[in-house]
């Protein structure tokens, strides 16, 4: 399939038979990658397929000699000994976790480690002028002196790219650049990538968002289990999402969601006129008079752009663990609840699975069994003494029923993959036996197969008669999973759609405007 254009377009990069081994694991086996000059080349594969490892080999994070195979870049075999060497050659990698310093300004970040000097003193005027130019090139209208922490993730991503441009980049590698961005920021970034392409900069993009890849990539190399499977030419081969998934998993995926027959009962959980203030900024509201309800056995989705206030709503309801509570009522089974602490919320039958597994959901020092019981220690203790036998038995039970892949429940959670970590977090909340379970981005950073399993678990919980709330940035996920979907925009609930009336377009419209729409409570304020 690649033979079509190989002769016409010169290659900027060719990675030949790259093999990289870690103790006991072959992360890459004989991987080849051919990137043409001036194209956007996507690398697709499940988590753990070896995409990031390959990019680390390319950028010198794993130096020459720790892998076998050749990197031919601009017609020369390269032997990068560290990141500086690859950057010197014009290869810049932008990682998923941005490498910016929050306290420093945009200018200071862009020129960090590369400061323009005049007689040994930093020439800030020069730096600022150049920053202004660079920001214009990436389409970011911000004062160069603004501290990084004051601009959003989307803009930070642009600063990273400006920083790369400043290093006169020839090959730009973006690892999951839009994972943390909302739709409009993502679109801006994708447009920018096309713009850079117009200026002759080659890009390699790693992304799980297949629609984006389909939109901008010229060629796609698919990696599976540490091997390069195929390279597709998007236009010539007529590639679509299903085709990419087929390559990634090795066969067609009939359905991305398990079949589910909802058994919906009466209203179980209800929040009325919920108002919460921003924790730091005095007059700003993060939840504006929000009202919603969830029925027994129902899976309710919350759609909203990043920063719309979905997590803020969930966490403030969950024992006021976020923001300044102002007013509002919470009812369960028709009875009003006073949830002033997380403990009270858990005792009242609420559970909240955090969006950020590593920083909010898990103690990475703990093992699986300790994590599993950590939200309900009381159930396995007597007179405040933890019964280690019960702990083991409980963890073992959940390991089996959720099919967590681990040698034993005594393994540390830090060693597990994202999907298995999420299963442990789910087990932890299932063990508290909540009636209302709030799941915030339950499948973020999890590969396709584990996602399917997580969906199955969520549906099973709903069928047990629990009220389930799912917050997600992926609209197809919400559409596939939920029975009803609320939309949130700037802290206010802007609408609610039943499964059959919801589509990506209708949701997106409600998510991006404060239009007055039919709402269940009719109390929407603007």
């Amino acid at each position: 399939m690649t033979s079509l254009n190989t002769h016409s377009d010169p290659l900027i990069l060719e990675m030949r038979s790259i093999t990289k081994e870690f103790p006991g694991v072959k992360a890459l086996a004989d991987v080849s990658l051919r990137v043409k000059a001036g194209e956007i080349h996507a690398i697709c594969g499940e988590n753990g397929a070896g995409k990031s490892t390959l990019m680390k080999v390319l950028s010198g994070v794993y130096p020459y000699g720790t892998y076998t195979g050749d990197i031919v870049y601009q017609n020369e075999i390269q032997q990068f000994k560290d990141i500086r060497a690859s950057e010197h050659a014009g290869i810049v990698i932008i990682h998923q976790e941005l490498a910016l310093i929050p306290e420093l300004s945009i200018t200071e970040n862009i020129f960090l480690g590369n400061e323009p000097t005049k007689r040994g003193v930093i020439d800030w005027a020069e730096a600022r002028t150049r920053t202004t130019e660079l920001l214009a090139r990436v389409g970011l209208r911000e004062d160069p002196d603004t501290p990084i922490k004051e601009i959003g993730v989307g803009k930070q991503q642009l600063v990273e790219i400006a920083k790369a441009l400043n290093k006169s980049v020839k090959l730009l590698i973006l690892d999951e650049p839009t994972a943390a961005l909302n739709e409009s920021d993502s679109q801006h970034l994708l447009d920018l990538m096309l713009g850079l392409k117009g200026r002759g900069i080659t890009s390699i993009i790693i992304s799980h968002k297949l629609n984006e890849i389909e939109q901008i990539a010229d060629e796609i190399t698919i990696i599976r289990d540490g091997k390069s499977i195929e390279t597709l030419n998007v236009k010539a081969d007529g590639v679509d999402e299903d085709r990419i998934i087929k390559g990634m998993v090795g066969r067609t995926l009939e359905s991305r969601f398990p079949d589910h027959e909802p058994k919906i009962g009466e209203v179980l959980f209800e929040v009325k006129n919920w108002n919460v203030g921003h924790p730091q900024i005095q007059d700003r509201l993060v939840c504006k008079n929000s009202s919603f309800f969830v029925r027994r056995g129902e899976i309710v989705g919350f759609a909203g752009l990043m920063g719309a206030g979905r997590t803020e709503l969930a966490r403030s309801v969950f024992g006021r663990s976020y923001g300044r509570f102002i007013s509002g009522h919470v009812y369960k089974d028709g009875k009003e609840l006073q949830l002033k602490s997380v403990r009270q919320a858990i005792d009242a039958g609420l559970g909240y699975v955090t969006e950020d597994r590593k920083s909010l959901g898990l103690n990475l020092l703990d093992d699986i069994k300790a994590t599993t019981v950590s939200a309900n220690l009381r159930k396995i203790s007597r007179h405040f003494v933890v019964d280690a036998n019960k702990e083991y038995a409980v963890a073992e039970e959940y390991r089996k029923s959720l099919r967590t892949k681990t040698p034993s429940v005594e393994e540390g959670v830090a060693k597990l993959s994202g999907g298995n970590q999420q299963k442990v977090v789910l087990a932890k909340w299932m063990f508290t036996d909540p009636d209302v379970l709030i799941l915030d981005e339950p499948t973020r950073g999890i590969d396709v197969g584990a996602k399917y399993e997580i969906y199955g678990i969520i549906q099973k919980l709903a069928n047990e008669g629990k009220a389930v709330i799912v917050i997600s940035s992926e609209l197809p996920e919400l559409l596939g999973l939920s029975d009803r979907i609320y939309t949130i925009f700037e802290g206010a609930i802007t609408g609610v759609l039943n499964k059959d009336e919801a589509s990506q377009e209708s949701l997106m419209r409600l998510m991006t405007s404060a239009r007055k729409t039919a709402s269940p409570s009719g109390t929407i304020q603007n």
């Binding site: 998993v249 009939e254 997380v342 933890v386 197969g449």
Partner: protein, 422 residues
């Protein structure tokens, strides 16, 4: 390899430290020509270090929770001088004095805990201020004088188990204590093995357990022999007894109780703990308060031992306690550490101190050596972590036998799910 690992409980650093401790003892025993493992010296060693070890127990909890306490030396000194004054000026009996001392520790701990937990000031700052405040307070109330304490109060710092029962040539109570310890170790080992088996968890081979028990019991019995055959009037020291009781209590609290779990959870990831319903403020408050109570106890023991309270009691104790905790395997970032590890860490320092003294090495060189030991112990641990967390045993056994490790990081593959078709 797994069997050997189990033998030492799997904890790399602790295992390393036990070996280091044994090696140090053997080294000094040889080079001091047998003056290290004599009754007199061992009793001395315990007497002279028990208060640091008591501080290490509190300190490890503080460090696990992610804080630090620099004020312990000053708090100990302040409590010491207050108790000495209570007893001298108010004529209180010794036990009321001790009770007052503990209550004073509660009050000081509540003060420091309040600032750390509820106001949110870093413990480093709060206790740095406490270090100045309580040092000053010690010298203020004691007018920088030495205040002697009565002989009955001195018992908690310099007393020994009494001689009772028939003349056996040994101190009977010490012997009984040693035998009870041996019985407890054997009993608990057998019980935990049985429950592990019942649960279907891996149990090491029988010979491993027997070897482990023989080693531990041998060490206990040998120590018992040393303590029981001291010169007349000495036996197992009272501070050592207090220490042993505290190790048992705090070892149990930290590893087996809900509050213990909560301390580790708050230190490991405060936000995750809070979102799991842990009241982290309460945990932080209790941990800081507990430290001050133990500091007060250590201060009283020291006053009892030195027969008087002085203006420079407890200077530098915080550093010894912190060093013991870090040598014993705790992490600066919190969430990691054990009571028993800290005790071993403290003993390493104590044996080093004592052995160098016996060899006639000056205080100057001793400090240099202690500083290097602290650095090397932690550096070794950091190095191990960067090397993919391979344990020492694992490193030693790398080239023997086959690797039976199962890869933990293995997500369910999509194909499997589809074929399973849930």
């Amino acid at each position: 390899m797994n069997a050997l690992k189990k033998l030492f409980g799997g904890n790399t650093r602790q295992f390393g430290m036990i070996f280091a401790l044994v090696a140090l003892i053997v080294f000094f025993e040889i080079f001091t020509e047998g003056r290290t493992l004599t009754s007199g010296n061992v009793i001395n060693l315990f007497n002279g270090n028990s208060y640091i070890l008591i501080l290490a127990i509190g300190m490890v909890l503080v460090i696990i929770a992610g804080h630090i306490d620099l004020s312990v030396g000053s708090v100990a000194a302040f409590v010491g001088v207050c108790v000495a004054l209570f007893i001298r000026d108010w004529g209180l009996p010794w036990y009321v004095g001790i009770l007052m001392g503990l209550l004073l520790g509660v009050a000081i701990g509540a003060w420091q805990g309040f600032w750390v937990a509820y106001v949110g000031i870093p413990a480093f700052i709060v206790t740095l201020s406490g270090m100045l405040i309580f040092r000053g307070a010690n010298q203020f109330v004691g007018k920088s004088n030495t205040i002697p304490v009565s002989t009955d109060f001195q018992y908690i710092g310099s007393g020994y188990l009494p001689e009772i029962g028939p003349q056996t040539g040994y101190n009977n109570l010490t012997v009984l204590l040693g035998l009870a310890a041996v019985a407890y170790v054997i009993f608990s080992e057998i019980r935990s093995r049985r429950t592990a088996k019942a649960l279907g968890a891996d149990v090491p081979e029988a010979w491993v357990m027997v070897l482990k028990l023989v080693l531990i019991c041998g060490a206990i019995l040998y120590a018992t022999y040393l303590f029981a055959t001291g010169r007349p009037g000495t036996s197992f020291p009272i501070p050592g007894l207090i220490l042993a009781v505290l190790i048992l209590i705090y070892g149990f609290i930290s590893s087996k109780t809900v509050i213990g779990r909560h301390i580790y959870a708050v230190g490991g990831n405060r936000h995750a703990a809070e979102l799991s319903g842990v009241q982290s403020k309460k945990v932080n408050f209790l941990v800081m308060m507990n430290m001050s109570i133990l500091a007060g106890l250590a201060g009283m023991i020291f006053v009892g031992r030195s027969t008087a309270s002085g203006p420079f009691d407890g200077v530098g104790w915080e550093l010894d306690a912190i060093a013991a905790v870090f040598i014993g395997g705790a992490a600066v970032t919190g969430g990691v550490g054990t009571v028993i590890g800290s005790i071993i860490g403290g003993l390493v320092m104590a044996v080093l101190n004592n052995g160098l003294q016996l060899l006639g090495v000056g205080a100057d060189l001793t400090q240099i050596i202690k500083g290097l030991v602290l650095l090397i112990a932690v550096a070794f641990d950091v190095y191990n972590k960067t090397q993919g967390k391979r344990s020492i045993v694992g490193m030693l056994m790398k080239n023997f036998g086959r690797s039976s490790e199962i890869k933990a990081d293995e997500t369910t593959q999509t194909k499997e799910v589809i074929s399973r078709g849930i």
